[in-house]
Symmetry: C2
Subunit: 331 residues, 2 copies
DNA sequence: CTGTTAGCGCGTTCAG
DNA sequence: CTGAACGCGCTAACAG
């Protein structure tokens, strides 16, 4: 294994000089930079990331906290997209990304969790899929000991940033689109919301309430808890009495659609997310499509920014409104 | 941050002793072990994994090489399961797991790829989803510089192990089951295979050929390249002429099923994998269900075993034959 | 059985 | 602008 010393020797300079060149420090003459660059190329030197992480007390590593569902593995598609995006931008930033399962923090209190992460030279957290029931995680974030980029959790302070859509607006947009396409306004809407008390659920619900007001339509809200089964049950029970069904997630939209099929009635349904599964169910369905990969990538960038000493902020990502057609999906 | 020194001081022993206790070395008296344990608890000490990785030239880190598909994100479900299992057993083994995308090795030759990995203190590779077109990876494995656990790639030597099903047997089993349930033997079978030249495709095809022989049934083989679209096309073209369609993957089974629906004819179809999507398409479909999470976990264990100096081996995982029913899947 | 000490490879002062 | 030297936290000989 070639080390920084080998490079230094080969280039006839000191190790510190090589280090400076690698890390793009100023105060190195053009000429020596070139010599060092050449030596690096010739020897095929790649800096040892572990040693770097240990040495520099500055730039730590970024952990990405994931919560793969044991239940609905279809949703893992989203998690994988977050992760892929995150890995890509971590590579660009030359930062190590350490994937950690929510489960690894279970049974620990904040202090223990903090130590656990600290012991891995982790300085920043990208948190995907945190809910209000993840108490330890929440307190961990609240302590502001780590720089945190939260996906879909609207908390912003000096060391915490929010990354996600404008869920309120997106929910309004997709619902309006679906309503307009199918009925025109002033009809009865059934809204199947996410979790009571959920971060994004609240925003999406707020969007629906606002839309109902604006379009002057009557709307009932039921809580589907992001469960396909629950959404199906709700639809079986109440669906017939409404003209259109708006769901706070794709999975619930699928449940609702299936219920309608079982009941042999047709109502437009719309979802939220853009998972593959969505394209497989009805002949066509509207949904908000999120670019999860880009969200993951942005979250890592944001985390790195925080670790660089910047203040937290809200990063609002774009969303797309799409109509999924059966045949489009086949690859 | 509390270090090993703090613990040593607190327990009144030397750092090396603490290290020994942590790593379960012998040659430490019960009494001192206890004292050290107590000190560790009191201080809430957690060993710094980065420092450990740097120091110990012995036990390196394990990389898990993933290939999330940009096309059919539904398949990412499998990748996520591999990863989750791998993370869990890595945690048990107290080994760092470094996820790496195939893409990160692209454009590198074996030497460069080797350096890239070496520079991250990586000593073992868990490879998921490698195909015969991944030349760099293949040569990387062939060099035997890293200890490799290959998922679904049957290569075994001193530093390489195979982890996966008995694909030949599994394919035979699920096809036989489907045939028997629906028709009894001696009927016309359409087999849609995976990639020409694919590692598992060959094994699965071999299974089908053997089964055809045993049951004395006539069978045609077409190559679906693991593509839903391709399988659909094949089925549209030839499907009507056969009694039953056996596919080498779930995705292709879905394509075939859709084609049949379009043609408005019914033939039994069976798949292979057990992805969520499979349960959403037909009323019912047979498939081999693999426990991807357990496979990921086992691959990491196997890799660790190799790094411990053991020889490579084949690890054959169990599989399940399941019949997916529409309503079972809803959560 | 326990303690001392020399690295692992790199980042980073601080003289020169 | 350069280079020698120390330290990050831990492991692993080796000496006691």
């Amino acid at each position: 294994m070639t080390t920084i010393r080998d490079v230094a020797k080969h280039a006839g300079v000191a190790v510190s000089t090589v280090s400076k060149v690698i890390n793009h420090y100023p105060n190195v003459s053009e000429e020596t930079v070139e010599r060092v660059r050449q030596a690096i190329d010739e020897l095929g030197f790649v800096p040892n990331s572990v040693a770097a992480a240990l040495s520099s007390k500055q730039s730590g590593r970024i952990a990405i906290l994931l919560n793969p569902s044991t239940q609905t593995q279809a949703i893992d598609e989203i998690t994988m997209q977050y992760l892929t995006g995150a890995m890509l931008s971590a590579q660009e930033l030359r930062t190590e990304l350490v994937p950690i399962l929510f489960g690894s923090l279970e049974g620990k209190d904040e202090t223990e969790a903090e130590r656990y992460l600290e012991a891995q030279n982790i300085k920043g957290l990208v948190v995907c899929g945190m809910s209000k029931e993840d108490y330890v995680l929440q307190r961990l974030v609240a302590r502001e000991h780590f720089k945190c980029a939260l996906v879909d959790v609207p908390i912003v302070n000096d060391s915490t940033s929010y990354i996600g859509l404008d869920h309120k607006q997106a929910q309004k947009d997709i619902a309006r689109k679906t309503i307009m396409e199918n009925l025109g306004p002033s009809k009865e809407i059934l809204y199947i919301s996410g979790k009571m008390n959920g971060f994004v659920s609240e925003q999406r619900l707020a969007g629906m309430l606002e839309l109902a007001e604006e379009l002057d339509l009557s709307m009932s809200v039921h809580c589907g808890e992001f469960s396909e089964k629950k959404a199906r049950e709700i639809t079986l029970k109440y669906g017939a009495g409404y003209d259109i069904i708006v769901c706070a997630s794709d999975l619930m939209a699928i449940g609702a659609m299936k219920a309608l099929i079982e009941m042999d009635i047709f109502h437009p349904v719309c979802g939220f997310d853009g998972i593959t599964l969505m394209g497989y169910v009805g002949k066509q369905m509207n949904t908000v499509r999120q670019n999860f990969r880009e969200i993951g990538a942005e979250a890592v960038r944001e985390c790195a920014r925080l670790m660089g000493g910047e203040k937290g902020q809200s990063v609002i990502m774009d969303h797309e409104l799409v109509r999924l057609e059966y045949l489009d999906i086949i690859v």
